[in-house]
Point group: C2
Chain length 236, copies 2
């Protein structure tokens, strides 16, 4: 069986958390909207919102007759099927909890450049974005990353749950990549206090399937249409 | 066994989604921080972040030796234990998907009055909040509620998955209560186009255990410290 991933074709965005899990799992998938004729297929599913399990927004994943939306929900499903989540209920709930906390940072990272409305251009909320990004980089990034440091300290590392990798590790790698791209100056400062997240990121980046993916053209570059955007004026 | 719910003692906030599920389940629970000496217990668990399953933020739930955080994650756990979620994997994933979509509206409802930073007072971001709330009430609320209408249309109602109630129905009831409190003028306009959500809300509100809860002093009133806040200047 081949999974079908539906996500916007020109950004990493929330779809990237799913791509990383599918790549690490070594499973077959089509990135539908990046293929010829793929965007109309995506739009058709979106317009049927409410029919069956149809989604409010991308990303969504087709697995046989299942249609699953919401990033953390898709990962909950894939994690159980591809050994990217632990077996016990306790640990599985904890991985989901970590992923939902990552989802919260992702939303805040987006809102740092779009604090007023997603429907407005960045330039129409640039002044507000400067204020929002100040608080995001000074308060929220250190708080979130400090939390993940303490989880790693407690697990003993190298991964969030200890010796075995889970999809939450792939996602933590991805937000570190995104934050470094968007806020290089702030992240240089913040990362001086982190001891455990960088080694985790290196472990993730050098896993054979992930390294292969990151070096391929399946990995889209970061850009200023995605969630993590680099605007120098927001990285002071 | 008695559950222990940990949440801020003076607001409904995200804790309310858990309270509604516990009340509908008819199970025993302590609302820890609302009892004498409860706040220090909550703070102690928060300060131990990273130890075991400790949370990034409230709400969190103690169930025996399990400590579970993130609203949608707690509901995933409670739903399975108290018949507040369907039995099949497909339907359980769909309820989780709906709950995560509700979590997205909740975050946006908060950001409508705090678009710049949670750490700032409302008065320090009132101007920005006016712009944000305009887009939230004109674009986002109609889009989200239109989606849930279409889910109800497809399921045949009266609940999101059809005949049986799930925790996502309790949560949809709660966001409707919150949105009506925060934006009464806009909601009067928006609700004219909704046919299926109001009957669902009435069904939820009149369930014996929920009706009992809503009439008790266990149900905190909405206020201007919570997620759903009424500021007349944001409801134009």
């Amino acid at each position: 069986m081949t999974y079908e991933l539906y996500y916007w074709p020109s950004i990493q965005g929330r779809g990237e958390f799913i791509r990383l899990a599918l790549e690490e799992a070594g499973t077959r998938y089509e990135d539908v909207a990046r293929q010829n004729g793929g965007m109309p297929k995506l739009m058709r599913l979106l317009e049927n919102a409410g029919v069956g399990e149809s989604p409010f927004a991308p990303p969504f994943l087709k697995s046989g007759r299942l249609l699953i939306a919401q990033t953390a929900n898709i990962l909950l499903y894939l994690g159980a099927r591809h050994s990217l989540a632990p077996k016990t209920e306790r640990d599985r709930l904890f991985v989901n909890q970590l992923q939902l906390t990552i989802a919260d940072i992702v939303a805040e990272a987006h809102d740092a450049h779009h604090p007023i409305a997603s429907s407005l251009y960045y330039d129409d909320q640039k002044r507000e974005a400067k204020r929002a990004a100040h608080h995001f980089t000074k308060e929220r990034i250190p708080k979130f990353l400090g939390y993940f440091e303490s989880v790693l300290e407690n697990s003993g590392g190298p991964f969030l749950l200890g010796r075995r990798i889970s999809y939450a590790d792939l996602s933590l790698f991805q937000i570190m990549e995104g934050l470094r791209y968007a806020f290089p100056r702030n992240m240089t400062r913040i990362e001086k206090k982190l001891r455990r997240i960088q080694p985790l990121c290196e472990r993730v980046a050098t896993r054979p399937r992930i390294a292969d993916y990151l070096g391929s053209d399946r990995r889209l570059p970061f850009n200023e249409s995605g969630i993590f955007r680099h605007y120098a004026e927001l990285d002071t």
